[in-house]
Subunit: 912 residues, 2 copies
């Protein structure tokens, strides 16, 4: 049979024997090191590095990513991996003087995922592994705390049952809550050791029911199963979703870290916490973090209990606090970047569980970068590369408009992610998505007790997030900061009732659909719908940072703007001209649409010209405004692009109206009028308007439209020139597919220009070029360049036709495509470099083969996407053009591209 399937089983049976699968660490030395992120993952490399540096890291070993990749291919772990793991376990047992699963003083381990890139809250973790019916007794004895031992065992079975055996969490919770109900207690901690033993019995029944076998008592079997579950968790939906959002390769896999457990819940001299060496929200140089006494790590990050600021540790355990400060400072200096760390205190002894470069807001990223330069820790080049371009969005987030408004503060929570958000309350992620799907313009605030990875789809569409539980490092806080979205977390006064779909605060009840406003800087939750103010762009740190970046930038940055206000805004952000002015937007204005319809409904050229004559002065004054706003900068003006029926009422609406009138008022003169209108709409109706009578096809069939537009452009240019303003029009012909189309329209533009200059006695410098937005234009770009003085890539349309994806309809397909991993990114948001990008590259090369100095730009949405900007720099574009609010981002991305080219680095703009 003719198939191309690889004989996978065969290749699995003979893994390369030279691969080392397991790397031990502990006892002051590690087999790996901090540079081995590809092999050990970020966490594993960090543990090795920390161990080597001499930090108090609980010993353990890392199973490397290759084992995960092999598991994904073959569906099982090879004997080679198993063998090395057992050897490492033996070494660990010797180091700790304990044995995994031993009846007395047992060794317990944690099993955690750890990929090359951080994926917070996305991967499954198992703690307390090694406990069984016997060793639990040993632990009780050793810790003098029977309740703790059984609680640990209970937790193990629950985590193991959920993560490894795929049993719903809720089923365990039912058992647990049943016991609490039976004992009539509220808090988990009110249950006794005996109660927990009964809970454990219930859990074990649950396991038996679901898996038809007992909870594994053999500790090594537990370990093997947990390891494989971590491998599998690489491909769970949350993980795939996170990777897609963060552009992480699906194929790299995760490592597994097996590490001795240390316990923060052994009593009042134990505790656990997380922290940052600097403030991740503001960038301020302050020791920053949270901890909980008598708790395990997950209690801090899950948001179930609200943790205490780390400064509190100074009072409780001053020695440990100082030790922690010293260690983390050492780490920051070692890594030359802000550190995000986890620690546990077991019976007064400090252990470092993890340290890594910390995620931060855009504002914090800029401030930290600047301060580290000033501290002599990093170079300016390092600083420029340290900030992801997209993070500059943080400087562009709005703030609440409070002037002259009476403000009712409902509560104050933690300012977990900056900005402001105003919207209608929703209480579930699904509700958020449904509301936005129904109305694209809907603004919603997702209100939850706490968020979990299952809420991500709702968080994506929400304007902001409010939680009543959880701290600055809770799931909601971390994820929203990554998204650049406003979040107020841990607003404990607020009682969120997700079932009743209401929240109660200070005796007030707010229902789903009510409006609230969030202030992500102060943490205030405000009743009602406030207005927001755009960001200030003259932030001094931002300006300093950009002044460092700019010298590396080789590519120009322009903005897409249709009106003077947007043009001015763009200039304020540093735009060096307009890359796309869509002239048709001007026609939708109320005072113009009438003339536009008149033009469209005209049966002949004469009537059409009459209507166009009325539009001429309006367009002329539009252009004069733009030239004036961007005195001296080039402005690319695109001739009319959309199909004409967009300016007319909808066909189906007319049909329904007519059907109704035919029954109710068959003699109405309105009916005749509507029928006439419908007949014209029918003439203009198209099956696939995106592929229809639009772009230069309009200007070719109705040359009088191009003439009018050209006249408006050049008359405006002459007019402002007489006032001493420098106009630089670049007339852009849309949707060309051939030299002949280009020439047809360019001839009109050049003729009209000559006429206007002759009439007015003034000449203005100008160019005529085209958008390259259809595959054929890319293929014959060498031909088109004979007439076109510049190309601007219309990557929205080019993506549509290259993929055969309608932008309006692709929403039906993308979710499935993301889920199946067929697409990783929305190609309309991030340029598809392998497909669409190849056509862009081809067009650049072909165009310049005809006209070596051909000016090249991009004006699709991709012009503001950092990775796309980097691509544009690589293929030699002269400029990118994006929406005004993306100009800053594009400038930084372009600078990073320039720097990357200089240093030969391929990873511009990635601080991961």
């Amino acid at each position: 049979m003719a198939t191309t399937l690889e004989p996978i089983e065969a290749s699995m049976a003979t893994p390369e024997t030279s691969v080392k699968y397991v790397y031990s660490f502990g006892g002051g030395k590690a087999e790996g090191n901090g540079k081995m992120k590809d092999v050990l993952g970020g966490k594993g490399a960090g543990l090795a590095e920390m161990t080597n540096v001499g930090l108090p890291v609980p010993p353990g070993f890392t199973i490397q990513t290759e084992a995960c990749r092999e598991y994904m291919k073959g569906g099982k772990t090879s004997t080679a991996v198993q063998k090395e793991m057992l050897a490492a376990l033996k070494q660990l047992e010797e180091l700790r003087g304990k044995k995994l699963g031993a009846p007395s003083d047992p060794l317990l381990v944690s099993v955690r995922s750890g990929a090359k890139f951080s994926m917070p809250g996305m991967m499954d973790t198992i703690l307390n592994l090694g406990l069984n019916d016997q060793s639990v007794k040993g632990l009780a004895e050793r810790s003098h705390n029977e309740r703790f031992a059984y609680d640990s065992y209970r937790r193990l079975i629950q985590m193991f049952g959920n993560v490894v055996l795929d049993i719903e969490k809720s089923e365990f919770e039912e058992v647990f809550d049943g016991k609490k109900h039976q004992r009539k207690v509220k808090l988990d901690t009110d249950l006794t050791a005996k109660d927990l033993q009964e809970v454990i019995e219930g859990y074990k029944k649950l396991v038996k029911k679901h898996t038809k076998r007992d909870f594994p008592q053999d500790a090594v079997e537990q370990l093997s199963m947990a390891r494989d579950a971590v491998f599998r968790s690489w491909n769970n939906d949350r993980a795939k979703h996170y990777r897609r959002m963060n552009n992480i390769d699906d194929a790299i896999g995760t490592a597994v870290n097996v590490q001795s457990m240390v316990f923060g819940n052994l009593g009042d001299t134990s505790g656990t916490g997380v922290g940052f060496t600097r403030n991740p929200a503001t960038g301020a140089k302050e020791f920053y973090g949270e901890f909980l006494m008598n708790a395990q790590g997950e209690d801090v990050v899950s948001g179930i209990r609200t943790p205490v600021p780390i400064i509190g540790l100074q009072e409780i355990m001053p020695h440990v606090y100082e030790q922690l400060r010293a260690i983390t400072t050492k780490m920051e200096n070692h890594y030359r970047d802000m550190q995000d760390f986890e620690f546990t205190i077991e019976d007064g002894q400090l252990f470092m569980l993890q340290t890594r470069n910390g995620k931060r807001t855009g504002r914090a990223a800029v401030r930290v970068a600047i301060q580290m330069v000033e501290e002599g820790l990093i170079s300016k080049e390092d600083a420029v590369m340290r900030v992801e371009a997209i993070q500059l969005n943080d400087f562009l987030v709005p703030s609440l408009e409070e002037k002259g408004v009476k403000i009712e503060v409902l509560s104050k929570g933690l300012p977990a992610s900056p900005g402001a958000a105003v919207g209608q309350i929703v209480f579930s992620a699904d509700e958020a998505v449904a509301k936005v799907q129904k109305d694209k313009a809907a603004q919603v605030i997702l209100v939850r007790g706490e968020t979990t990875p299952e809420d991500i789809h709702g968080m994506e569409v929400a304007a902001g997030i409010l939680t009543s539980r959880g701290g600055m490092t809770s799931h909601a806080a971390v994820v929203t900061r990554g998204m650049g979205k406003c979040c107020v977390a841990g607003a404990g006064e607020i009682e969120v009732d997700e079932k009743k779909r209401e929240m109660r605060v200070k005796g007030k009840v707010l229902k789903a659909g009510d409006w609230i406003s969030l202030d992500g800087i102060s943490g205030r939750v405000i009743n009602g719908k406030l207005n927001t103010n755009p960001a200030r762009t003259d932030d001094p740190e931002l300006m300093k940072f950009m002044s460092w970046a700019e010298p590396f930038r080789k590519m120009g940055v322009r903005a897409n703007a249709d009106i003077p206000r947007d043009a001015k805004q763009a200039a304020a952000f540093g735009a060096e001209g307009i890359g796309l002015c869509r002239t048709e937007h001007m026609f939708f204005a109320e005072d113009r649409i009438g003339h536009m319809r008149e033009m469209i409904l005209a049966d002949n050229e004469k009537d059409r010209r009459a209507a166009l004559k009325k539009l001429l002065p309006m367009q002329r004054s539009d252009f004069a405004g733009l030239f004036t706003a961007l005195d001296g900068y080039p402005i690319t003006i695109r001739t009319i692009d959309p199909p004409l029926h967009e300016f007319l009422p909808k066909r189906e609406d007319l049909m329904v109206q007519i059907a109704q009138l035919e029954i109710t008022k068959p003699k109405s003169p309105k009916l005749k009028e509507l029928r006439h209108l419908l007949s014209r709409v029918e003439q203009l109706h198209e099956q696939n308007p995106m592929l229809g009578h639009r772009g230069c096809r309009l200007g070719i069939t109705y040359p009088e439209i191009t003439e009018m537009q050209a006249r408006a452009i050049f008359e405006a240019a002459v007019q402002v020139t007489k006032k001493g303003i420098k106009a630089k029009p670049e007339v852009m012909i849309p949707l060309t597919t051939s030299l002949k189309e280009m020439k047809n329209q360019a001839d009109i533009v050049r003729r009209v220009a000559a006429e206007v200059f002759e009439e007015k006695g003034v000449k203005v410098e100008y160019m005529v070029g085209t958008m390259i937005e259809l595959p054929r234009a890319a293929v014959v770009a060498d031909e088109i360049a004979k007439e076109a003085e510049f190309f601007s890539f219309g990557t929205n349309d080019l993506t549509q036709t290259t993929f055969g994806f309608s932008r309006d309809d692709v929403g039906k397909i993308l979710p499935t495509y993301f889920e199946l991993g067929i697409l990783k990114q929305d190609p309309f948001a991030q340029l598809d470099q392998e497909g669409v990008g190849q056509l862009v590259k081809m067009a650049c090369e072909k165009g310049r083969s005809t006209r070596p100095k051909l000016k090249l730009g991009i004006c699709g949405e991709h012009g503001g996407d950092p990775s796309s900007v980097e691509f544009c720099a690589r293929v030699g574009l002269n400029y990118v053009s994006c929406s005004p609010f993306r100009v800053l981002i594009a400038r930084l991305a372009a600078a990073q591209a320039g720097l990357a080219e200089k240093t030969g680095s391929a990873e511009a703009g990635r601080s991961k």
Copy 2:
């Protein structure tokens, strides 16, 4: 100013002096020769050749095509051309012993266009040039025929006024008819010399009125102006239209032939005619033609008078007849092809005006080719190249079904173009076009007194043409033969009243809209609507011809067929398999659409699977039928392709129905049902369905559909295999853009195949491949080829997305594009080799770089277009697939491509 316009004026001012612009012929020798078609045009080269061979050609000179090209660029004729022309004129005057425009015995000349390729009736011609108020008297004296002289002068002013000065013909006709009316005569010939002198005065006033100056009396000025008018006529609408239809380059320009006039209208011993050395309709070896005594050439071809068969000349002037036969036979042997010639007899003396390779029907082309091989005139290779592949359509034209039908023959005309046509009468080209635009399925017969080049747009859309005047070489006859369209010409009994929109024959009146049937073989015009029979493909001459062609064919030919009947038809035409079976067509059948809708309306996978289960046995039996019909041949089956809403009622129809019911029967249960249906239709509604949820996107979001189809395919294959039939399924995934999509679907197909083979205990050889029909697929073809075992180019969709042209909507744009010369061909009919073709080529190369033996085919409409087939051969496709009725054409085109490759000729299939 930054523009790219060439300084045209400057380049015009300094033409290359080495160019020879004017070539004389006459007196037994010519400066040019028959091979110089590029330079002299077909007619000019022919005149030179005929002169050199020693034929009695009236002397003259040819102004070469370069002069036309320069004129088109610069808008005027250079002094260099003018100078050479005057020198040639002087030589001509010396040769004839006459002087152009001289008061006594003046030289008169004709001025004709003559491009490289024949463009019958398309270019303007001026006769009798050299006449003025003085020389007309000299002509009268010399010819002893005052009436003839003034009639010639009258004709000159009319033609010159129309062609050179752009005055409407009708204005001259008004003056002429006014005079007839005044003299109360019916025939032109009833007007006396004096009458004609008065007509001339009227004509001259007309010229003065329109041009503000007198009709030019200076003969050289007449000549210069006429020459430039011929140059300009190259770009008139008719000429451009003809070139587009015949794929002739707009840039090549025409030559101008200036030739001494000889007169066929000097009295009863004068005459003029046209002829062919063989019958151009049937190919029979018979001397074939028509003539008129006492007439000028245009009288014969214009169809105004019905000419006499050429055999009649044998009686009137036996000596001239024999001389003509001898000359034309000599010419046929010289050119080794059937000749089309024009002659004039002046006072009993024969002149040959023109000879060229004659246009012929497909049947004639095949017969002539065979006979010439048998006569030893040409080789078999020559024969294969002599027939344009598209001409085989003539063998595929239908015939009237006459069995058991009472036939009322209205009249019998000339069988001008073969086939049969049935349709409703229309009396104008505009009416024909309007009717077909309104209803694409409309069949119309265009009925005219005679057709003119202005009727072409109507002739294109008509099923057949009927004229009451004109012969086998009339405009209608020539053009319809070129189109392969049925025509009955010169049905003189029929009185066509275009104003009243009726035709009268034998006391019967037929109105516009009445049905008639035409028999293009017998020339019968039949009342009413007959049925037609498809063509017989076992024509012995066709079979012989194809048997000569086949050995040169290297590329396979398959057919696109969805049902066994079509598959068998295709096999009868020689198809070697099915290149495209569209499975969705099976779903539109009445007994299936219900299940299909059930499947679409299902809310969940379970219900969808239930509905699919009902469709499974139906599809299985479809496939079993196909496998059986094409036992042993490969069958490419495409999984479901169109968007699902195509299977549901139209959205706007539902909206209107609901709006109506809401008013008339607001409580009807039907209303609820319709609303439910509409809501699902709304969900599936797409702005641009062509770019929407279709192709493999359906199979990916609903894998159960692909599963069902794969199961049906393999179960059918197994079922027929058990009966001893060899099934060769090739499962084709539509609309892929990436390897991952391909793999997703291929995995399903291969899994189901393995399941079915396991269940049934039989294995069947199969392949899984994809359509390449989106630009991205071409760009990443090397990736896709990792999974795809074959590619089939879906050039319909590829053309849509490469151009950004919706096939459904492009009709609104194409007419303007043709008119402006932006497009020469409908890219959906003939593959756009420069654009779309380059993507095809890229995909071939990339695909084979991954999989050297990758099977490549094409299944778009282009698979049946000869020039596209040639392209496919050139880029290395393994086969083309086309509609069953195109299989013969594709086979010949493929053979010609193979032969062209062998001989290194670039002009396969062109007998021009």
